[in-house]
Amino acid sequence: MNVESATFHPVSNDEVAMFGTAPIPVGPYHDPAYYALEREAVFKRAWLHIGHVSELPQPGSFIVRNIEAARASILIVRGKDGALRAFYNVCTHRGTELVAQSSGMATTFSCRYHMWTFNDRGDLRGAPDFERFFLDKADCGLTKVAVGVAAGLLFVNLAPEPEQSLAEFLGPLQAELEQLPCAKATAFAEYVYEIDANWKLVYDNFQENYHLRFIHPRSVGESATSPVNPFGYPRRFEFVGVHRKQALWINPEHVPGQLQGDALTRLADDALTGGFEELMAESEYFAVFPNFFMLNSPVLPFSHTVFPIGPEKSRGVIRFYWSGEDQCATQRFAREFAVAATRDIHAEDRSVIEAGQRGISSGAIKHIHFQAQEALCRHFFNSVDAAVKAYEAELALKGVAA
């Protein structure tokens, strides 16, 4: 009998009381006007995770990512000099979307409309019959977007002049993220889903364990719940500015199915040989504001980003960052299992989140409620709402000035 399993102490109500106890209004979870404010206050100001350095492995690699919340298509290029640069994927002639492919290799980018051609630094290099314009080419470069890398993860910031550098934004989280598999990964697996639900409602589902035993009785089940911790509550919460962390509890007495056990053992062995021994003790969860989290489970480590598409529509992107391509058949089997197992859990979540959105959007209730073990949801709401309120105050000031 493992001593650890004999007792479990959840985070107390008092420890999270500082975030408030009041009911939360439903408006922010469906109101188009609130969503419009979030787009400006959050998605055009915060650093947003949109990819991984392994997608831009060599000079000339590029990717294009749509950020619907900002109505923006972003082109990220690794230049001939090896540096990463990001631009709005918009030709500066008449605004046409410049690159149609989602990824590829190129050192120049030509707009198909009138053949304006830009180099890997975003400079306009050529434009047919340019002497008929009333312009200097030097003034026609692609609009730059701030881009940064932390732990192998790519972030962009759509503010013309970001208030914080990426390092300032992540603060102490960056050093911790740098210890995770994503920092060294050269390969990844991915699955994607669309969902009829507000991005915060989607994200909240993955910030609390209260639902585990009801929604995932089999797919999670006794791996994270037991008589001493029937709801599978976390061992610890931590709040770092607008970001948050939690240490998830693993039931040490859980016995997986036979092949399931073989696959999980292999995944754990790979993590150990990958040098992640210290990370194996517990499942650490990192939530980076606004819409990204990384679950560093010892056996099923994945990242999850929830992109808003509209006030009641989102897209989830789940990734498993691996230390390299498959080395052998057993590793390939274990990784296939990891993706399929996590996908099962997220499919169960997706169904109940949509049901939640339907209820909220019906107008039947004015508030939702977060208990102490849903403190991350409350902290998240508070963080978003503070950004929205600050933006509204700015607008009001401008209105007064005008």
Binding site: E190, V192, G257, Q327, F333
Partner: protein, 116 residues
């Protein structure tokens, strides 16, 4: 004329499953699970699970890029078994109910597929 074996000889007992389960991509494998009955999957699992360790050991002895077509088929069967294991060992009777939720979860990339 000799026909090449469908699978490496020592795994001949798995040949009846090749047509249904030796699929190329992770997405195809996940779809096949979602479109199969629990009884079909239990049958595959019952026959294939006892062979998995041997099959992976046999394949581990080769480098992934040196697989012959029969090795690729054996690998694909093992990978389908990863999906089927979730249906049989984890979901059990809840599999039909939960399968419907998975249609919207699109696998877009795996390390197993990239090699194909």
């Amino acid at each position: 004329m000799t026909l090449r074996s469908v699978l490496p000889a020592k795994f001949a007992t798995l040949e009846p499953f090749v047509e249904k389960w030796a699929l190329t991509t992770s997405r195809e494998r996940s779809h096949e699970r979602e479109n199969s009955s629990l009884a079909e999957m239990r049958h595959f699992y019952d026959v294939a699970a006892p062979c998995l360790k041997d099959a992976l050991a046999y394949l581990d002895a080769k480098s992934l890029d040196s697989f012959q077509p029969e090795d690729e088929r054996l690998m694909a069967l093992c990978l389908s078994l990863a999906h089927v294991t979730l249906a049989v060992e984890v979901q059990g009777e809840a599999e039909p109910q939960n399968a419907q939720y998975r249609h919207e979860m699109r696998i877009t990339r795996t390390t197993a597929e990239r090699a194909n």
